[in-house]
Symmetry: C2
Subunit: 137 residues, 2 copies
């Protein structure tokens, strides 16, 4: 798997391109006008979206009807002298639809503990917690 990044102005604005050709704009969060997401935010987005793909896939197979799927991922960071790496990530999944809450919880367990390659990439580095809230309709 390979990605490319190219600087797009005289400061920190970058365009990253994945295999599909789709692009992500990335910028330094300390700029006066921030024109992209920050590198650290990308890691949180990776965790939240990877588990979403797993959970949607599992719940689709179980014929659960998801009308709304939202995720919030919060990252707690160490405050070291030179860097501020992530210490823990907390994922909150909010689902709406004709969904059995037990099935949703089980799908989350399978994703975070077994299938999600993003979470598994962080296995020895940091703790990822998750909760699932279902509003059944």
């Amino acid at each position: 798997m390979k990605i490319q990044i190219e600087r797009k102005n005289n400061d920190y604005l970058m365009e990253a391109t994945g295999k599909s050709g789709n692009k992500v704009m990335i910028d330094h969060s300390g700029m006066e006008v921030v024109q992209g997401v920050s590198p650290m935010e990308l890691l949180l987005m990776g965790v939240g979206s990877c588990s979403a793909i797993d959970m949607i896939s599992i719940l689709k197979k179980q014929r659960q009807e998801i009308t709304s799927y939202k995720v919030e991922v919060e990252g707690e960071r160490y405050l070291l002298d030179d860097s501020r790496p992530f210490k823990e990530m907390h994922v909150k999944v909010y689902l709406e639809g004709a969904i059995d809450p037990d099935k949703a919880q089980k799908a989350a367990d399978l994703s975070f503990e077994k299938y999600c390659s993003v979470s598994k990439s962080f296995d020895k580095c940091l703790k990822i917690t998750y909760i699932v809230e279902v509003k059944s309709t």
Copy 2:
């Protein structure tokens, strides 16, 4: 630090939003029409762009004139039964401009070994290698 994700169609297309309000489209790479980057690609983009911000910042202070900055990040993955987490990441930085190659190498060393919060988040999980190529003009 907190991000939000919202599903945007009946499959896997998601929109992720960071603090600045800027957005990233994320999709399942296995779809026929892929409308966003993949969750695993986001991690590679995070590593490449974090070191870029450090290196550009350091080289700016040293009055080096960067006319082109490109990065390629390749991820090697484990092939486990249930998931395919990253095993190693290889970063290649390509710089052009009135740049002292030794200063560029030193900037990369400082970023990957000291300052980059993304790389440091992966410290105990996977190996990150990097090379810097400077085309001095």
